[in-house]
Symmetry: C2
Amino acid sequence: MPLSEHTESVQDYLKSIFDIQREHGRVATTMLAERLGNSPASVTGMIKKLAALNLVEYEPYQGAVLTPAGEKIALEVIRHHRLIERYLAEALGVPWDQVHAEAEKWEHVLSEDLEDRIDAVLGYPTTDPHGAPIPGRDGTLPPPHTTRLCDLQSGQSATVAEVSDHDPAMLRYFAELGLRPGADVTVVAVAPFGGPLTVRLDNAEHAVGREVAGYVAVCNVTSGG
Amino acid sequence: MPLSEHTESVQDYLKSIFDIQREHGRVATTMLAERLGNSPASVTGMIKKLAALNLVEYEPYQGAVLTPAGEKIALEVIRHHRLIERYLAEALGVPWDQVHAEAEKWEHVLSEDLEDRIDAVLGYPTTDPHGAPIPGRDGTLPPPHTTRLCDLQSGQSATVAEVSDHDPAMLRYFAELGLRPGADVTVVAVAPFGGPLTVRLDNAEHAVGREVAGYVAVCNVTSGG
DNA sequence: GGGCGGTTTTAGGAATACCTAAATATACCA
DNA sequence: TGGTATATTTAGGTATTCCTAAAACCGCCC
């Protein structure tokens, strides 16, 4: 049962449902519609189709949840996507704000054989260029990061784990700051009333909006110095 | 006006029309239908659509011919296809009987930027793994080879220029014989009545069916020794 | 508990690209 | 020149996936 048994649409829906489910549990029609850029009416129709294929469980007005079969496919698509992103960045030098768009198209037509070759050439990587984990062939995926840059207190340091990849302009901004997975970041100050954070990266200080800092996951948090 | 302005179907039709036109001049509905695996009725419908887009000239019952605009797109698709084949074989070690199928899918979603990167990484190659020329960015393409292995007389030698890539089993057979682009081949004997040719490759002799030899283009023909 | 706003579904329809079966045109041969 | 085989087109229909507009539902507030 390779990916190609399902249309690109089905693959895209499952991938988005998986993402939303990770964050919100229940997948509401409107949220899925926004992420996919489709109308809610269209999404209702497709969800009903996915339910008929036993890829989601669906109760009208109650949202959808992936079945094990649906989750398996979602993870395969995500594995394709992130392996491709990594490959494009590493082997072909594609800038990290462009790998997402390219992978979005290629992921649907990648054969299992080529997937394996790419995996081997890269040395079996575990994350994509934005720090997101690459699911294993067996569908394993580590739990999501729980701490974000905006959660840090003044004086705390951490390692950047993952940045959001959905806005190329924001990725270029992160690159400019040196805010990439593996980088060490220290919060110098936190402005009150939801104001910006002052962070130190590569021995330079920058003011970063609170909301933007919410798009950066961190790990290895240490307090004080 | 990038490739992505047109559907995959349109791209596939134009590519096949270009191929047939090179061999036969006029593109008959049935021939196109066979190559694409569609019914003749479907092909008629699509040709009318291509004509409406000014990509082919079409007179009912008289077949179709590419317009300059159609030819430009066809060459872009073929460039994608052959560059990808070359890349898969060279950078990822995909066997030459599998690169065609993989390229067939990827060619439609390759961005211009990635095309350029692949071209550069490969050192601007001029042929794909089967010896077929890769069209230039400007749409230039050398004329097709005119001599085939089956055209050679007993005693003649030549260099293999290009092999047909449409049948993976035949490609595996060619690989087994050492019949690959650049290889030197000598015709030892030609059986009468359309019988097989005996050819020498890598100092081994093989009997090759006349029809199969028609799928191998050669150049640098020399007589006797 | 009725009403109201926002969410979700239903109804009806469009675009793409394919199919089969039937009708028609073409080309060739007697 | 008529007739037939073949090639091609037309007619009618299916599947997929999207849309808008209208109806139905849910939850919350008074």
